[in-house]
């Protein structure tokens, strides 16, 4: 018998979810984590009186208690829903484009988190486009429903007539460039920029994002509300770990995987960084495919994986300032938890800026205690201020220049945001700076990528053959699907389900064989 049925490498969202689902499903599971804390991105850290959320900006897919959505079911099945205190956000986001000449903002709009109110707000701001707004948001809704329900069914049946009759909007718009759809529906460039602001959560400009991704995001956030969890995403990670341990799971912290050992292209064991070897039937890797196949695997990268990776491009990282301020959100002028501050209506300008250490043009400011005071000490404010950024320029810096470059860029980020929230700097009580290299350090991802590979249209699962070159080795994480919280939790859950099925099959086959032998 092997030491474990399954070993999960990495306690990020997908790894934790997979490990918990596996152990609760009866598989003897070992979870390996190179850091001292579960969560990967879904962690928090303390500075002074502040507990900073590392990565969660708006949790999607929860729905409300009355109108629950899929993540509530998943968290219930994982045994943690009753441990979480969910905070619903009232707004989707605020978009501000400061004027270059005076204090009047060129764009300043707060979008509410409800489809009906969203239509109303957008129409009030852009009355000449109110019909287009109605039509666009209706399309988002229909497209989302097709993506959730009908498309998977049609694909399963492999029946083109079913696809054509049940997914007309998907056929027309699903894989179309988001920018083309925005241009088709709207003429006001302000409105287009406002409605596309969530592109930041994917990391590519609307030109390169398939419309289904943007539409589902807008619809799902508006219809099911963005959420926070008290204690931050760390509360989810800690609850998952507890559920995993309570089910009998074994975890090793400060223990990275050093080698995946195989026998005849079938996984056999994992060797840890401390030299211990644990045998297993299945490995679920929550680390990047580059690390898994090129560095951990004890045999050369399988051809199937090589072919798959050649069509991928590294996704973006981020530069983040975690700010604890000695003033209230109100004093700072916060009117929505999520804020996009833009200098240009064209997202491609921002994407260009992201390629190096350039003056930021698009920043995102999240105020965690806007919707719930428990996210910061009384009278204070907890913020994250970030811009997406690729890591190469940081990797190219001489190590001696790194700290200063970090502060110089942080100053620019604060300057950028202070045109909307003027008193950030003078109220700083604590601050931590995270560069793309910090992301690399804590996530162990190539380029410090935060969403995995670039999520252009062809990156999606439907364009991919399932990687099965190494029997028993399964990938789960942002690299093999969408990035972000909900997608990675869901990938962890579905991977565990598939592995449990296989384990069951193997056990049945063994029992049958034993029965035959005994007979």
């Amino acid at each position: 018998m092997t030491d474990f049925d399954a070993i999960v490498i990495g306690a990020g969202n997908a790894g934790l979810t997979a490990a918990t689902a596996l152990q609760r499903g009866g598989a003897r599971t070992l979870l390996l984590e190179r850091h001292n804390i579960p969560g990967g991105c879904a962690t928090s850290f303390i500075r002074g009186e502040f507990e900073f959320e590392v990565a969660l900006h708006q949790l999607s897919g929860m729905g409300t208690e009355k109108n629950p959505f899929i993540m509530r079911k998943i968290f219930t099945d994982l045994g943690i829903m009753d441990q979480l205190n969910i905070v619903e956000e009232r707004e989707l986001y605020r978009v501000v484009m400061p004027s270059k000449v005076n204090k009047e903002h060129e764009i300043d709009i707060v979008l509410p988190a409800s489809i009906k109110a969203l239509k109303k707000t957008l129409s009030a701001h852009y009355p000449e486009e109110s019909e287009n707004i109605e039509a666009y948001l209706t399309l988002c809704e229909k497209l989302s429903l097709e993506c959730f329900m009908m498309l998977p069914r049609a694909q399963k049946m492999a029946d083109q007539t079913v696809l054509e009759s049940s997914c007309p909007n998907y056929i027309k718009y699903g894989l179309t460039s988001s920018k083309d759809v925005l241009n088709e529906f709207f003429s006001n460039p302000d409105l287009k920029a406002v409605i596309a602001a969530y592109w930041c959560y994917i990391g590519l400009p609307p030109k390169d994002i398939p419309f289904c991704d943007l539409a589902v995001m807008v619809y799902a956030y508006a219809a099911f509300k963005p959420c926070h969890v008290q204690g931050g995403s760390q509360a989810i990670s800690s609850a998952l770990l507890e559920s995993f341990l309570n089910a009998g799971g074994k975890v090793l912290f400060n223990t990275g995987a050093a080698k995946i050992l195989t026998d005849n292209e079938q996984v056999k064991a994992v060797q840890t960084e401390h030299g211990d070897i644990f045998t297993c039937e299945h490995i679920i890797s929550n680390t990047s495919p580059q690390h898994t196949f090129n560095e951990l695997l004890d045999i050369p990268t399988p051809k199937q994986v090589t072919a798959d990776m050649k069509s991928r491009r590294l996704g973006t990282s981020a530069f983040v300032l975690y700010l604890g301020l000695d003033c209230t959100p109100k004093e700072l002028g916060v009117t929505a938890a999520s804020n996009f501050i833009i200098d240009d209506r064209d997202e491609e300008v921002a994407f260009e800026t992201m390629q190096g250490i350039n003056d930021p043009t698009h920043t995102m400011l999240t105020c965690y205690n806007h919707d719930d005071p428990s996210f910061a000490p009384e009278g204070k404010t907890s913020l994250s201020l970030l811009c997406l950024q690729y890591s190469q320029a940081w990797q190219d810096l001489p190590v001696e220049d790194y700290a200063q470059a970090k502060y110089d860029f942080a100053e620019k980020l604060i300057d950028h945001a202070e045109r909307v929230f003027p008193n950030i700097r003078k109220n700083i009580e604590d601050v931590e700076v995270a560069t793309p290299l910090t992301m690399m350090r804590y996530l162990n991802t190539p380029g410090g990528a935060i969403y995995g590979f670039q999520q252009n249209t062809q990156d999606a699962v439907m364009f991919r053959e399932r990687i099965n070159a190494i029997s028993g080795l399964h990938m789960a994480g942002s690299w093999n699907g969408m990035g972000g919280f909900q997608p990675t939790y869901m990938i962890g859950e579905s991977t565990a389900r598939a592995v449990l099925k296989k384990i069951k099959k193997t056990k049945q086959a063994k029992t049958q064989q034993q029965e035959l032998t005994h007979a």
Partner: protein
């Protein structure tokens, strides 16, 4: 087609061909494959990049032992592979030691400046009731090998909000990070900052003979206008003519003025023994300096946890409890420990360990899970808000107040 396998399921007989844009995406994929890579050329790159800035361990060798005072030595370390990562003046490394079979570690601020890239200096003062300092002062010689963490900690000048008007309150060996910061300011090439910066070092020592870096600092003060130093001796000899006493609110007012606004614009750094921190912090509070203008370097677990708020009334410091350790590999062990000894220390003495660095409750590396029983977590333990609900504590500052079972 080079990607015949990758695209097989996607391109053949797929109903998705009916979807607008599907073929375009497939064509795009084919284009990408032509210029793409399997990323094998980047193998090791992530690990090397992280190691160049934040290595988990450094392999060090003592290259010089400098006698500072009768009670203090500076150990100069270089790296076995001749590479030391950069650090920010004020940061520490955690030095691992093996003393008569006990594996433990202590964090020490780096007293050399970041510009000295070839070595780290650790300045170690004898702690009478200490364990590690005697070993480092008495037994360590040039050529000895050590392991340490990379540079860590948040006690450094942060230009984003600290400003240029700085006051450093140093007690005893708390001068170590101050020295690094002072030399860093001298060596800095940021001219705009150099024009503005001021540092007033208020350095308290118990005895005249204890004063570390006295000559060097006096010379630097003469050479550089930005630096002002006030020396204080708390236990002077009869013929001592300098300042005596403590870093009191009165003294601070005398040295820095009583203008609250001006005081609040300064940034105060405090480093020294725990009692020194507490005293200085209290004086600054009296002077209405806001907490956010004060940075205190943590310095070990509380010496007398039983005197702190929240300590259970029925538990006395000399009580002993049984600690049962459950390791992840399924093995178990047991030992007795005093309730006033930090768990990490008693674990180490009994052959168990947890990753650790700050040993002051801050870095969270040493977190362990309490399965049964109770521990006392002092305010130093910077626990995450969900930790206590699930029994996680920082073992370096957690005290067992009943028989306990731990998951390590």
């Amino acid at each position: 087609m080079p990607n015949s396998t990758a695209n097989k399921s996607a391109s053949d007989n797929n109903i998705l061909h009916a979807v607008n844009g599907y073929q375009d995406a497939l064509d795009h994929q084919r284009e990408l494959i032509k210029t793409g890579t399997d990323f094998n050329e980047q193998n090791g790159h992530v690990a090397n990049t992280i190691a160049s800035l934040h290595p988990k361990r450094l392999q060090l060798v003592v290259c010089e032992v400098i006698e500072d005072t009768a009670s203090t030595k500076t150990l100069r370390f270089k790296a076995e592979d001749n590479y030391l990562p950069p650090f920010q003046a004020g940061q520490y490394i955690n030095l691992f030691v093996n003393i008569d079979g006990t594996e433990t570690a202590r964090p020490y601020a780096i007293s050399s400046a970041p510009q000295a890239r070839g070595f780290y200096d650790l300045t170690i003062k004898r702690v009478a009731e200490g364990f590690v300092s005697h070993f480092l002062l008495d037994d360590v010689k040039v050529g000895d090998h050590f392991q340490s963490t990379g540079p860590m900690g948040t006690f450094y000048h942060n230009p984003l909000f600290h400003g240029d008007d700085l006051v450093f309150l140093a007690g005893g060996s708390g001068i170590a990070p101050a020295r690094s910061m002072i030399i860093n300011m001298i060596e800095s090439t940021l001219h705009h900052r150099k024009a503005e910066q001021k540092l007033h070092l208020i350095y308290a020592s118990s005895y005249q003979a204890d004063v570390i870096y006295e000559n060097e600092l006096k010379q630097l003060e003469q050479e550089h206008d930005f630096l002002t130093i006030t020396w204080i001796i708390s236990r002077p000899t009869d013929n001592y003519s300098g300042r005596t006493g403590h870093v009191s609110a009165d003294l601070l007012t005398e040295l820095l003025g009583d203008n609250v606004e001006k005081l609040q614009a300064k940034m105060f750094y405090i480093c020294g023994p725990t009692s020194f921190h507490d005293f200085c912090a209290e004086q600054l509070k009296q002077l209405k300096v806001k907490a956010r203008r004060v940075r205190i370097e943590c310095n070990g677990p509380p010496k007398h946890p039983e005197t702190l708020a929240g300590w259970p009334k029925n538990v006395i410091a000399t009580d002993k409890v049984t600690v049962t350790i459950h390791k992840a590999d399924g093995s178990q062990g047991q030992f007795e420990a005093r309730v006033d000894e930090p768990l990490l220390n008693s674990m180490e003495r009994n052959g168990y360990s947890a990753e650790n660095a700050c040993r002051s409750g801050e870095c969270s590396l040493c977190r362990v899970k309490v399965l049964k029983g109770s521990v006392f977590n002092p305010a130093e333990a910077r626990l995450r808000s969900t930790d206590e609900a699930y029994g996680w504590c920082h073992s370096c500052v957690a005290f067992p107040t009943s028989d306990i079972e731990l998951f390590v």
